[in-house]
Structure formats: structure tokens, C-alpha cells
């Protein structure tokens, strides 16, 4: 489990989990789980496009998650946020279907991009993962106070000069960065599990934002570690364990909160 070829996996997955846990806190308090689901999913055709054009898949992922952010924020100006999210997602997936129809050699890779491929993370892959992760975390650190204010009360934020629209775009940008970072490791569909489950559980355990962020990151790390170990032992895909354990974490958080309410 800790052989040489697994070391990079542990490092990459740990970084992904920390970032997802931190970003996830804001996903949960902003009620943005649809966006957190849609951005990774709509970014994944980017990797297929990059493969067709023979460029680095990471560039494709960044371009497509950028397109997702642009689509959602542009359509939200005149319409509802959930509809803007759904339709941008669907359009980018449609493009994905187009790119995939151009090649059949890519089918195995599709599975990896959707559900994750933690084995075979090379040394060269670690650099971009660390860089993008550091970028999205530092954006959160810099924007922490305005982002928190705008998430808790957009009206209050607007009144104190923090534009809710700007914060929304920046927040989506942060999610997009975290997406591009995590997608090659845990896959498009499960980046989102890591963002929602641990953060939702953390929210049940503490009332303080900073505490919730730390707990969320910790739960995410434990989830990913357990998923890698279980996946290694059982030979089943890591995505299955990430999804299941995130749901368990959330259920445990709900139960804890419920038990707490009974004690009071």
C-alpha cells in the first residue's frame, strides 16, 4: 500500500482532499452544491478536447472550467442561477459528446476522468496539482472576510461595498481551479462528493467558520485516505469509496447534530 508507485498517489490525493475540504466549506454555506457538481462535470470534456488537439489535458480542463464559470455567470445576469448552471453544464457536456465521437481510443480515459484514476500519478503531475491547489487556497485566504460576509448575507455584503456578483464569480473561479486540480486525480463526478460531504458534516459539528473549515479539510483527508486504502485492498474503484464515505460522513454529522438536539 505504501510502495514507491503509491507515494505520489498519497501525496496528490491528500492535497486534493485538503483543498476540496476548504473550498467545500464555502460551497455548503453558499448553497452552491449544484455549481460544485456542474463545474467539474462540465470541465471534463476539456480533457477530451485537449486530447484531440494534442495539448496538455490540464489546459483543456482549465479552459472548459473557465467556460463553465463564464456561462453560469453570464446567464445568471438575466435568469435564475440553477437554470444557468444546468444549461451551461448541458451545453459543455454536449461538446464533450462531440469530441468523444471523434475518437474511440479514448473510452478508457473517459472512465478515469469521470470516476478518477489515482494510481499512476507521476512526479510531473504533482507540480500542477500543488500549484493549482495553492492558488485556490490562497485566493480563499485573501478573500476570506468578504467572501464569508457575502456568503452569509449577500445584502449586508452589498451594503458594505462587497459586490455579491463579483464574489459569486470569484467563488466560481475558486471552485473551477480546485476542479482542474482534482479532476485528474479523483475524477469529475467525485471532486464534488469531496466538496460537499465533509463540509456538510463539519457544519454539524461546529458553529465557527474557521473550526468548520479545519474539520472539513480533516474529514476530507480521512475520507480520501480510507478510500485509497480500501480501494487498494479490495481492488474496487476509489470513486465508490469516496462517494460512500462522504455520504457516511454527512449522515454521521446529521446524527451527531440530532443527538445534540436531544441532549439539550
Amino acid at each position: 500500500m505504501f510502495e514507491d508507485f503509491m507515494v505520489n498517489t498519497w501525496i496528490a490525493a491528500t492535497m486534493v482532499a485538503v483543498v476540496a475540504g476548504i473550498v467545500g466549506f464555502f460551497v455548503v454555506i453558499r448553497g452552491a452544491s449544484f455549481a460544485a457538481h456542474a463545474l467539474p462535470l462540465s470541465a471534463f470534456p476539456g480533457a477530451a478536447a485537449a486530447n484531440l488537439m494534442d495539448v496538455n489535458p490540464l489546459i483543456g480542463l482549465l479552459v472548459f472550467s473557465g467556460l463553465g464559470v463564464a456561462g453560469v455567470s453570464q446567464l445568471t445576469r438575466h435568469g435564475r442561477r440553477d437554470l444557468a448552471t444546468a444549461l451551461s453544464l448541458v451545453m459543455l457536456l454536449g461538446l464533450g459528446a462531440l469530441f468523444l465521437s471523434r475518437t474511440t481510443e479514448y473510452f478508457q480515459a473517459v472512465y478515469a476522468l469521470l470516476f478518477g484514476q489515482v494510481l499512476g500519478v507521476s512526479n510531473a503531475d504533482l507540480g500542477p496539482v500543488a500549484m493549482l491547489g495553492a492558488l485556490s487556497v490562497s485566493m480563499i485566504v485573501i478573500l476570506f472576510r468578504p467572501l464569508l460576509l457575502s456568503s452569509v448575507s449577500p445584502e449586508l455584503g452589498d451594503a458594505s461595498g462587497v459586490s455579491a456578483r463579483l464574489m459569486e464569480v470569484l467563488f466560481l473561479g475558486i471552485v473551477a481551479l480546485a476542479t482542474a486540480m482534482a479532476l485528474p486525480v479523483v475524477g469529475a463526478l467525485l471532486v464534488f462528493s469531496l466538496m460537499v460531504g465533509p463540509a456538510a458534516a463539519a457544519r454539524a459539528l461546529t458553529d465557527r467558520p474557521l473550526g468548520a473549515i479545519l474539520i472539513s479539510a480533516a474529514i476530507a483527508v480521512v475520507t480520501v485516505w480510507a478510500a485509497i486504502a480500501l480501494s487498494f485492498v479490495s481492488d474496487w474503484p476509489i470513486g465508490f469509496f469516496v462517494g460512500g464515505l462522504s455520504a457516511l460522513a454527512y449522515a454521521a454529522g446529521r446524527t451527531w447534530a440530532w443527538a445534540g438536539a436531544l441532549r439539550l
Partner: protein, 305 residues
């Protein structure tokens, strides 16, 4: 005139059996999705509508593994997910998106497992692509009748629920006062969504079925004021987009020299362009409930307590 027609409709488009099947099933999926989609949007449940499609793909991959009828797999998993989303849902509306997300995550995990098993047991690496993206031209004829039955069943259910569902969607408090079991109606509706989504997942693929569910209904709700009219309009737009998409996909084999565009791409593009046009020209405004943000107060701050 004849030449114009033959440019629009490639020779043989109406004679081709797969095209006819695709047109029939596609229209059925579009009508059902359009009708259900209007309520989905009014109730602010577009995330759930999309998520159910994703999760029902887990059932699709399970059916693939066990050699069952794929429709059974999609429908079974969709209904299971819809029920657990509605049962786990806390009283607060803001918690709904979270529960949807968590159930989706778990369901996708299961999909990952089944697809993996599909790949290892049958060594067909295309299973993930087939199930997620689907192909309307490759629907086996044995699937047409059961799919149409599911479609009719869904429409009958919406018809039976129509009045209470509309009231619950527009004003849940008033509905509760009138003695309508709001939560039961919510559960039944989500099951109906699961059925509709399973049907379109088989036709345009699990992750593109959202296009048929949300797109036409979103356009219709901007153009029509009354819910009944919006429903008819949504069904019409859905059918038009589906048939238009099928036609373009069929014709594109000619223009692109055998590298036809996938039909799901064509359908989705038509829907997306129509929505963007309607939104950007400012035709009408959106009705229905915007999903609420979690309400964070000092006391309830970040806890569920």
C-alpha cells in the same frame, strides 16, 4: 422545391428504421421531460432533476452487468435515489440541495463500481460512454414499448397530481392549510421526475437528459404566463429540438464526410441556443421558486441544530 427538401432532408431519412425509432422515442422523452420539467423548475428542483439522471446511470450500469433490461435498471435506481433524497431531506429547504448532493455522490460511487465491474467482466471499455452519453440511433426495438409505457405512466401520474402539485409548488404553506399532504406530494413528484429522467437517459444519455428536462421548460416558462400553457409549450419545444437534432445529426454525415455529429450534441445545442436567445433578448422573466440559499443566522450559524 424538391431540391430544397432534399437538402433539408437527406434522401432516406424517413425510410430508415433507426431514425423512425429514434424520432418516436425521442419525442416521447421530450414530451414527458417537458411536462415534468415545468414543475421541476417551478419547484426549484433542477439540481435534483439533473442528479437523478446521473444516479440512474448507476442502475443502467448495473443492468448492463446483470444482463437486465436497461430501462429497469435506470428506473429502479432513479426511484430509489428519489425516495432517499426526499426521506433524508430535513425540514429546512436550504438543506435540500445538500441532501441531493450527498445522495448523488453516493449514487455516482455505486455507478463507478458497476461500470468498473462491467469493464472487468465483459471487457467492453465503451460501457461508460454508452451509459453516460447514450445513443438515440442505437435503441433496440425491444425497448420501445416499455419506454413508451413508462412515458404514458409518467404523464398519467402528472395528470392525477396536477392540482395539488401545482398548489404545493407555488405555495406550500397554503397547500398545507388546505390539508394537502405536501411531503407526500413532494415524494410522488420526485419519483415522477425519476421516471421521466430514466426515459430520457436511455434516449439521449444519462448526463444529457438534463437538457431535455430543464431546457424546453425554462424557455416555456419565460414565454407563457399560465402553467398549463407553459407545459404544452415545453413539450412542443422539446419535440421540435429533438426532431431538429435528429435531422441535423442525420444530415451531418453528408457534410462532414462520414464524421457525423452525435445526436445528443445537436439536440442540446438547439436547446441551449434557444435559451440564450430568449434570455438575452429579455423575453419574459423566469417564474417559480429560486432555490433558497441556506439561511445563516447567528444562532443557527453553521449547525443543523
Amino acid at each position: 422545391m424538391t431540391t430544397l427538401l432534399s437538402i433539408l432532408f437527406e434522401p432516406g431519412v424517413f425510410a430508415s428504421e433507426p431514425v423512425r425509432t429514434a424520432a418516436a422515442i425521442g419525442a416521447a422523452a421530450a414530451i414527458v421531460s417537458g411536462v415534468v420539467g415545468v414543475f421541476t423548475i417551478i419547484r426549484g428542483q433542477s439540481f435534483a432533476g439533473h442528479a437523478l439522471a446521473d444516479v440512474s446511470s448507476a442502475g443502467g450500469s448495473a443492468a448492463f452487468l446483470f444482463g437486465l433490461n436497461p430501462l429497469l435498471g435506470f428506473v429502479g435506481m432513479g426511484v430509489l435515489a428519489a425516495t432517499s433524497m426526499e426521506l433524508m431531506r430535513a425540514d429546512r429547504a436550504s438543506e435540500r440541495d445538500l441532501v441531493t448532493g450527498v445522495v448523488t455522490g453516493a449514487g455516482l460511487g455505486v455507478a463507478a463500481l458497476f461500470l468498473y465491474l462491467d469493464m472487468t467482466t465483459s471487457s467492453t471499455t465503451g460501457a461508460a460512454v454508452t451509459i453516460m452519453f447514450g445513443s438515440i440511433f442505437a435503441i433496440p426495438t425491444s425497448l420501445v414499448m416499455p419506454a413508451l409505457l413508462v412515458g404514458v405512466g409518467t404523464l398519467v401520474a402528472v395528470g392525477a397530481l396536477y392540482r395539488p402539485l401545482l398548489l404545493c409548488s407555488l405555495d406550500p404553506d397554503l397547500a398545507a392549510v388546505r390539508g394537502i399532504p405536501v411531503r407526500l406530494v413532494g415524494l410522488l413528484f420526485l419519483i415522477v421526475v425519476a421516471l421521466a429522467v430514466a426515459l430520457s437517459a436511455i434516449t439521449v444519455g444519462a448526463i444529457l437528459s438534463t437538457g431535455l428536462l430543464i431546457g424546453p421548460a425554462a424557455i416555456a416558462l419565460r414565454l407563457a404566463k399560465r402553467p398549463g400553457l407553459a407545459i404544452l409549450l415545453a413539450a412542443g419545444i422539446g419535440v421540435a429540438a429533438t426532431w431538429g437534432g435528429i435531422l441535423i445529426a442525420y444530415d451531418s454525415y453528408e457534410w462532414t464526410g462520414g464524421h457525423g455529429w452525435p445526436v445528443s450534441f445537436c439536440i442540446v445545442t438547439l436547446i441551449f441556443v434557444a435559451y440564450v436567445v430568449v434570455v438575452q433578448t429579455g423575453l419574459g422573466r423566469e417564474r417559480g421558486r429560486q432555490p433558497q440559499r441556506p439561511r445563516v443566522t447567528k444562532t443557527s450559524a453553521f449547525s443543523v441544530r
